[in-house]
Symmetry: C2
Subunit: 334 residues, 2 copies
Amino acid sequence: MNISELGEFGLIDLLRELVDNTGDKNSSARPELILGIGDDAAAWQGDLSVQLATSDTLVQDVHFTLDFISWEDLGWRAMSVNLSDIAAMGGLPRYALVSLSLPGSTEVDSVTDLYRGMIELANKHGTVIVGGNISAAPQVVINITVLGRTNPGKKHILKRSSARIGDKIAVTGYLGTSAAGLKILKENVRLDSESEQPLRQAFLRPNPRIQEGQLLVEKGVRCAIDISDGLVADLGHICKASNVGARIDSSRIPVQPAVTSHFGDKALGLAFSGGEDYELLFTAPLEVINSVKDAASCPVTVIGKIIEDNPGEVLVPDDNEHSLSLESTGWKHF
Amino acid sequence: MNISELGEFGLIDLLRELVDNTGDKNSSARPELILGIGDDAAAWQGDLSVQLATSDTLVQDVHFTLDFISWEDLGWRAMSVNLSDIAAMGGLPRYALVSLSLPGSTEVDSVTDLYRGMIELANKHGTVIVGGNISAAPQVVINITVLGRTNPGKKHILKRSSARIGDKIAVTGYLGTSAAGLKILKENVRLDSESEQPLRQAFLRPNPRIQEGQLLVEKGVRCAIDISDGLVADLGHICKASNVGARIDSSRIPVQPAVTSHFGDKALGLAFSGGEDYELLFTAPLEVINSVKDAASCPVTVIGKIIEDNPGEVLVPDDNEHSLSLESTGWKHF
């Protein structure tokens, strides 16, 4: 059955049921929820922590094509890009509003699969879908707003504007993996399945670094961003917001062996500007980064430092110590 | 200049400046704002009132066409549909996230006009734009999330599920005016300008009933919805959520004289199912409605009552006292 046969309100009822039945019942956000899906607005009991809100949009044939992502993975991905923004603030996600624009010919099963993917990831992080809306459109547009907060009792958030001269620059996990996964999917490349799977998954089902964001706050980091546009572009955002420069040591960029072995010379390019890794990029004094490293359950790698020169710019010295200034080479709309 | 020439980040900088320079500086939401546009998420100091969140999407050629609405009016309208949802909860809007999907050929001036319209209305209600995102798309899609709260110290919200048998049904303002305005715009009808202007404005620049929502809470109303889908459809939402029936006296529906005189027999149809009036439809004991009426600065009209029979349905008796059951005749997607 397609959604024009079921109708808008039938679809909303079905999705509400799915959220009620499969959503995280033990989420700490649930006891404070007063009204979820089904009224003019969602409502919950407020608290005195710092509140966070972020919104992101995925547009068919701009951000994704249904040729090589399933509806379920698409749901996961759409949720993850928003949860990642909350992670980058050192926050805990709590509630999500999902706005879907869909062609009438979309299968009902596709929409429930999309929701299943969103719910699966939301459940991992105690996030409850509490509202949104559905409208007709010529192509699929998914907009998710996630509302979060700092850990109760804490007020400290991670800002782009808090980098200080002398800070080291570090990153969680590996870079370029998602872009490598996308290339493999697009070009239908086959590697051995052990190498291939993590690359595909990095693109299809990125894991927002919620726990790591919490760890950064706990250890006293003050400046972070998530890598969505690409390392150079996102570090550029930090440099502009903090009015500092950055210098990256490209030999230190953490790249997965499967990416290096398959993409060779191009692996570093993917790491620099591929984007969508949803790793956390942060700056702090070295001893703070080391304490994060000791406590983290994922790799944490120092890749450069914050400098006074060239404020707003990211320098990547080449082998002859000539600085290449990369103003921004990440994902750009328009 | 079009937005593909300016680029995504240039456009964001421009819009941030516009919001900073023309946004409401005296809004009570401002002192509590920690981070607005420009980081991974917006951040503000939380409080103990009930928190509200709503999200709505306008899709080009589905919800609007640029043939007969200006970008500035479109911005106002997009903001108003969300503020109206907060009004229908008896809440006060505070922060807005704006997600725009736009063709690269869109003029920069069009986008700033859109923002001017949004900001103009947001300012009237102390609402600050604090974030969102911009992406490319083949047609314009505007998604706005508005975050609000109950008046500090009050916990009471207006729900769809609170209608009680014996309640009277009342509505603020007039119905069918927006649908009449849309018809006039679409068909390029000319009435005398005194009649025409309010009709056009009802469609182009609806006024969310924030103050009236507050008044409903103050006077003890417990059940409300805003009229977006249409009177019968939205009353149907109340009936379903409250598991009650409703009976409307069609002779009491408030319709503006200009609508009746121009649309004759069809005026009542516009009032019943035209939708998008963004008036508040609410139910309460008669004495409560009368106290609202005495204090309101807009018309408040009793149009029917909540009954035990036919739960989930809206009855509109005809002249011979035969009940016409109108399950839902409002705006439907798909």
